[in-house]
Assembly symmetry: C2
Homo-oligomer: 131 residues x 2
Amino acid sequence: MKKNSQPAAGLALVRGELLNPNCPSRELLKRITSRWTMLVMLALRENTLRFSEIRRAIGGISERMLAQTLRYMEEDGLLIRKAYEVVPPHVEYRLTPLGREASKHVLALTDWLESHFPLIEQQRSDRQNAG
Amino acid sequence: MKKNSQPAAGLALVRGELLNPNCPSRELLKRITSRWTMLVMLALRENTLRFSEIRRAIGGISERMLAQTLRYMEEDGLLIRKAYEVVPPHVEYRLTPLGREASKHVLALTDWLESHFPLIEQQRSDRQNAG
DNA sequence: CAGGATCCGCTAGGATACTG
DNA sequence: CAGTATCCTAGCGGATCCTG
């Protein structure tokens, strides 16, 4: 227990608090499950990568979005940015322990999704044919 | 948009296929982890609810967004819409087994997030104070 | 190489009004 | 009650150019 920061710090957060519109963790949920954040987590899951390496790993992400995503993730303490003072620049990104924990859950979801994707697509077309 | 020659249906999907920008499951990931879809999953996790009940359970969602979210989820086979032919209308929503599976992973993520939220917020402010 | 700055289209999403 | 229809805005996100 640190100091007198927020009352929330010592509070047992109950499941479903997210359903409260005023719960600030909704914002965090939005950021963590945002399109690119999840993919960055996958890319960095067990690697330390440079900016352009991440960009190549995740197909289709623009420089702007990757930079922004990395900044947000660093702010949330999900990853560490390490810049070497050299020319040309060399910057490495890796998940923090917190980020690695989060990525586990993300990975569980994406794994499930990928393995059930064919089924879902098939059901979708079945339903469309049936009306 | 349908792609010809997509072997995905019978293929063993490997972990990390989402990092391929052409992987159609990216779209599904976007839908499933969209802001309101996740909250609807939480609300319906162990309940069958009516439209307005869901709306009340999830604070802050508009009618328009709830209707759209429910329609998408039904299309993806995540929930069942059951309408009773009465006046006034009575419509119930519940998760399918598929939806319940997905919600488990979503719940794991949101549980983790809620329990680590205070820590994350504290680290964030610590970092801001430190520069 | 790692981004910042700028411009801009697109769409998620809110507010409101209306209907069966 | 359970939505649809309409209008409108904020901001997500892509493309491009520029810099240390």
